[in-house]
Structures are given as C-alpha cells and as structure tokens.
C-alpha cells in the first residue's frame, strides 16, 4: 500500500482501518478479561484475542443493512458491527443501558440498529437463523447480505448441514464464515471431524468455498470482499474457512489441559496485530506516532465504555418478566 491518502486506502478495508479495528477489539477484550478477574463481569466470558483479523477483515466488506449472526465469542463482531463500546460494556456489566438491556450478557449481545442478531450460545444454532434472515431479504427483493460466524465445532452439528443445504438449494444471500481456531472448546479438530478439510466439506453442497489465512487481516478482507460481492450479486451462499487461533483459553474457566504451550507460542508469533503493524511500518505508512495515536484512541474508547458501564443502572426487579412476550399484541 503506497498511497495512504487515497480514498480507497482509507476505507473500511484499508490496512490502517483494519489495524485500527483489530486494536479496538483487542483492547476491549483485554479490558473484559481484567474486569472479569475483578468480578465486574460475571457468567461465561469467551474472548477472541488472537482472532481479530477474522472479524476485522470480514466486517470491512459489509455495508449498512447487512446482517450479522455470531456466536458466544462475539464481542469483536458486535463492536465492529457498529454497536457502541459503551453499550457493549454496559451489557457485560448487566446494566439496563446495555445493548440487550442487561438481559443477555457477554454471550447474548444484540442490536437492532446494527442488525446484529446475536450472540448465540448454542453451537450452530445461529446458522438456520442466518438462512432465514437471508430468505426474507431474497423474498422481499433486497440486496442485503447476511453473514454468519461460527466455529469449526459447529461443522460437526447437523444444523450446519441443514443450513448450508437449504441456503444452497434456495440460492440465498448468506456468507458462512467458519472461524477455525482448531479447538471446539477442548476438542481438537482432528478428534472431532472425520474430514478436517472444512472448505472441501462445505463445497460438497455446491457452495464456493475457500480457505483463508485468518491471521492476515488483508487476506481476510480481500477474501471477504470477493465473497460478499458474489453473494450480493445473486451468486448464492459462499463459505470461508478462516484459519485462526485463540491465544487465550476457551473461557475464563478453562484450565487449558488440551494443548501445548509451545503450540500457543508458535501461533502468537503470527499475532495479526503486530503482523499488520510491521507491514504498514515497513511500507512507510505508519510511524510510531501514528501507532501511538491508534493505541490512545482504542484505550480512550475502552475507558469511556467502562466509565459508562460503571455509571449504569440496574433494571428494577419489577421488570423481571418483561420481554417474555411482546408488549401490545399488534405487530
């Protein structure tokens, strides 16, 4: 990238924008881990530290109106979908000001404005929803795309097969993004799948399927752009296997007995943030001051979010049974 002033270079898929997006997610999640140990955040907390290139790259290819369905490891997806960090952090705190009114917590982030449909803690449970969101778009003649994120563990679930089959059969505008971090909680891919070539597996449904280096934000953004363009142009569903790695445990409760420290260390050598930073630096597109500015911005956003969450209010107990049924029967 040699022309940082170029409009395209400054767009959402530009290296600098990707770096900024990844940094925002990283700092937010690092804060979540800290706050979890301080018991400000409770429940299960699954962070995606190490996997930021996937979400930054894929979301960079989306447009307003596109929908996202994600898993329980979705803080980054939610943030980059456009949910304000304040609302996310308030949700972690269980505050009324949270993006799900405090009723969802870390695993159930939702936001209608951002068209962010969870935050789904049932592995593969979001896949049929994504198919349905896309079906509605197709039936109503809208050229929106629905992106569905899921882990490689979901590919062993029947719902993966049911969903991709249905999407392919009806040529629906869904982008299936498999975040292959090699472990379904503690079960390694080779111990759970007879076919470990996931793109091959997906392609058996007649869906264009590609394997992408999920530690390289530029590669992800590039693949996502092609995929989204194809889906939006009416090409039917598309599948990306994004090969990535989570640097931290599955959740804050995970003693991590199932993988070697050396393996984690080897993957950390390919941390997507330093990787992109050094490539920008060596191309002369980012100096230390530029990096410091990005760092400061990310940190400020997190601190502001924490302050907002700390000052948040709790829903009164009297509202406990709200939102079980809609208020007012007319749709």
């Amino acid at each position: 990238m040699t022309a940082p002033a170029d409009a395209a270079a400054a767009g959402p898929g530009s290296p600098r924008a990707l770096l900024r997006a990844m940094l925002r997610v990283r700092r937010l999640e690092e804060a979540c881990v800290r706050l979890y140990t301080e018991q400000k955040i409770r429940g299960f907390l699954h962070v995606s530290i190490g996997e930021e290139a996937v979400v930054a790259g894929v979301t960079s290819a989306l447009e307003p109106g596109d929908a996202i369905v994600a898993t329980y490891r979705e803080h980054g997806h939610a943030l980059l979908a456009g949910i304000p960090a304040r609302k996310l952090m308030a949700e972690m705190y269980g505050r009324a000001e949270g993006c799900s009114h405090g009723r969802g917590g870390s695993m159930h982030l939702f936001d209608a404005d951002a068209r962010f449909f969870g935050g789904n803690a049932i592995v593969a449970g979001g896949l049929p929803l994504a198919v349905g969101l896309a079906l509605a778009d197709a039936m109503q003649g809208r050229d929106r795309v629905t992106v569905c994120f899921f882990g490689e563990g979901a590919m062993a679930e029947g719902e993966f097969h049911e969903s991709i089959n249905l999407a392919a059969l009806w040529r629906l505008p869904v982008l299936f993004c498999c975040e292959n971090n090699l472990y379904a909680m503690g079960t390694a891919l080779a111990r759970s799948e007879s076919q470990t070539d996931l793109a091959l597996k997906a392609s058996s449904y007649g869906v264009p399927s590609w394997e992408v280096d999920g530690m390289d934000a530029l590669a992800v953004a590039d693949a996502a752009r092609k995929a989204v363009d194809s889906v939006r142009a009416g090409g039917g569903p598309y599948f990306l296997e994004l090969r990535t790695y989570r640097f931290r445990a599955h959740s804050m409760f995970d003693p991590e007995r199932y993988r070697e420290r050396a393996e984690v260390a080897a993957w950390m050598e390919r941390d997507p943030i330093p990787l992109l930073r050094s490539s920008l630096t060596s191309a002369g597109d980012l100096d230390d001051a530029g990096w410091a500015a990005l760092e400061r911005e990310a940190e400020d956003e997190v601190q502001d979010a924490i302050a907002f969450a700390e000052a948040g209010t709790l829903e009164p107990i009297e509202t406990l049974e709200r939102f079980v049924y809609s208020e007012g029967r007319a749709p």
Partner: protein
C-alpha cells in the same frame, strides 16, 4: 356451509396467503405432495413455489429459517409433520424462538407460526402418536393453540399471525376429517380465552384439542344419568386461561381433567396444581385426571385404545367425583 376441519384449516391458510404478502408456508411436503394431511392441497398451484415452499427433511434448519425470516420482516407459517418430528427442531423453538425477545432486551420479537399435528388414534405407533404439547407449554415466550372445533380451525391462524410472538398450533390428527356446519363468514377468533363448550353445574370437565369430542360425548352420557357436566375447551395451552377454569370449579366444585398426554409432569398436572393452589376450598372432591397410559404408544388397535382416554373413562371419573360412582 358444510365443511371439514381440514378444509377449514386450508381456507385459513389460503386467506392468510391472500391477505398478506409477507405470509408464506414452509415445511415438508406442503407443496407438491399437497400437505401430508392434505391440508395445503392445491395451495402450491394457487400461490406458487415461492410462497408454498417444500423443504428438505431438516426440521431444525427450516424452523430456524422461519425464525430468521420472521426476524427480518416476513410472516412465515412453518409446518412440521408431527409433534414427534418437532423434537428435531426443539433447539430452535426453545433456545431461539422463545428466547430471542428476552435475550435481546425486547429488540427482536419472532412473529412466527408453527403448525403441527399431534395425538394418537390412528395406529401409527410410538414415533407418530404422542401428545407432547405439554412440554412446549412449559416454555415462557411461546403461545400454544389447540383448535378443537371448525370455528377455531378456521379462525385461530389469522389471529396467530397477528401475534408478535411465536405461536405453535397443535392440530390433532383425528380431527381433520371432522365434519360440520361453519358459518360462511367465519373469520378470526380470539386466542386468549378458554371456552365453555357445554354449561353444567355438577362437575367441570377440562380438556382441549383431540379429546374435546369424547369429553362432550361423556358429558352427554352424564346428562342421561342426571349429572350436569360443564365442558371447558382450553383452546390456548399457554398462557392458560386460569380464570375460566377457576370460575367454573367455583360453580361445580368438582374437576376432571382429560388429556391424551402422559400424566407425569403434564399439562393436566399443571391445571390440577393450579386448582389446588387457588380453588382448594371450593372443592368437594379430589381433582381427577383421565390421561394417556404411560407407555410409548403401541401399534395394535386394542392396545392403543386402552392407552387413550375414552368417554367411558371420563364418565367413570366424573361419577366418582360427584359421589355417584360404582
């Protein structure tokens, strides 16, 4: 006009497809086959494959797709062949459809209608005959309907479609062929209240869906023996119209619950508990239940019949309650 339960359901589907472009029907064999109980016969020809969609055999996939479509502006009617098969979609129904509104803090309601058959009586064995609607009645966030009459078969669907939340409609397989008179202008009906199908003063018989006809039969037999039974058709299994039940028990002081489902942990158990909680001092006799035998449904006719509630068993239970038992 003379019609059948099946034709009344079909008329309701046709009207829904005509009235609202957002409505579409989706499920296994709803199109080319004509609906496995012939409910949607002819609708594919009338509305085309976009709006009458045959799905693959993937209950979780197409029920979940229905939820997604409902979230995104459509009004899907999803048909699952039987309640037994709906277990393959249980995750989507419970973890998504029923939970999304609450989990999202009120942002995402799911205006989805799911229809399915339920019940036994046709010698279909243990994997096509169960009455599992009571399980769904356990789940907050769902509304459950059990049309037992032609009016309800014709009228509940449109009201269900107007509901912003997921509605499950349970159609007892033995009712489809039921024939009777239905007003030409029959239209939408309320889905909030139970109905007293036969007034009486001596005992309240509480039932719904497929067991309504035999319960009415039992009430007629009881009348011949001088016992005036009141018959309540629940119509909506969740939320329960407790008020109608309690008011009736306050008049008759005796209750018999008729439910084809198994007794343990059932809807009949819930109703009995509520009567005990809220109308205990009104009771002149223990609450009685006539339920299905606690076995996976056997195939042979005599065993299936023995496993199911019958008018004779209801009569016996009611006579016992009024102190006129053998």
């Amino acid at each position: 006009m003379k019609t059948t339960y099946r034709e009344a359901m079909r008329a309701a589907l046709r009207e829904a497809l005509q009235r609202d472009d957002r409505v579409f029907l989706m499920g296994e064999d709803v199109g080319a086959y004509g609906g496995c109980y012939a409910v949607s016969l002819g609708l594919l020809e009338e509305f085309g494959p976009e709006r009458v969609r045959d799905t693959p055999l993937s209950e979780s996939g197409f029920v979940g797709a229905g939820i997604g479509a409902a979230l995104n502006g459509m009004r899907p009617i999803v048909e699952i062949m039987t309640v037994n098969f709906s277990l393959l979609a249980l995750d989507q129904i419970v973890n998504s459809a029923a939970s999304l509104l609450h989990m999202s803090g009120g942002q995402f309601n799911v205006p989805l209608v799911i229809r399915m058959t339920t019940g036994a009586g046709r010698q279909l064995g243990a994997q096509h005959s169960h009455s599992l609607e009571g399980w769904y009645a356990h789940i907050p966030g769902l509304r459950l309907l059990a049309p037992a009459t032609l009016e309800d078969a014709r009228g509940m669907l449109w009201t269900a479609l107007a509901d912003p939340d997921p509605v499950l409609i349970f159609e007892h397989g033995s009712l489809y062929a039921a024939e009777g008179e239905l007003a030409d202008d029959a239209g939408p009906v309320g889905i909030d209240r139970a109905e007293i199908r036969r007034p009486g003063t001596d005992v309240t018989l509480i039932t719904y869906g497929g067991t309504l006809p035999l319960t009415l039969d039992a009430a007629a037999q009881l009348a011949e023996r001088g016992v005036a039974a009141e018959v309540i058709d629940l119509r909506t299994l969740r939320p329960l119209d407790e008020e109608t039940i309690l008011a009736s028990v306050a008049r008759t002081h005796r209750a018999v619950i008729v439910d084809e489902a198994w007794r343990s942990g059932s809807l009949s158990a819930e109703i009995a508990a509520r009567i005990a909680e809220k109308a205990f001092y009104e009771l002149d006799a223990p609450v009685a239940r006539v339920c299905g035998a606690e076995v996976p449904m056997p195939y042979p006719k005599h065993l299936e019949e023995a496993a199911l509630p019958s008018a004779a068993r209801v009569v016996a239970a009611a006579l016992e309650a009024v102190g006129a038992g053998a």
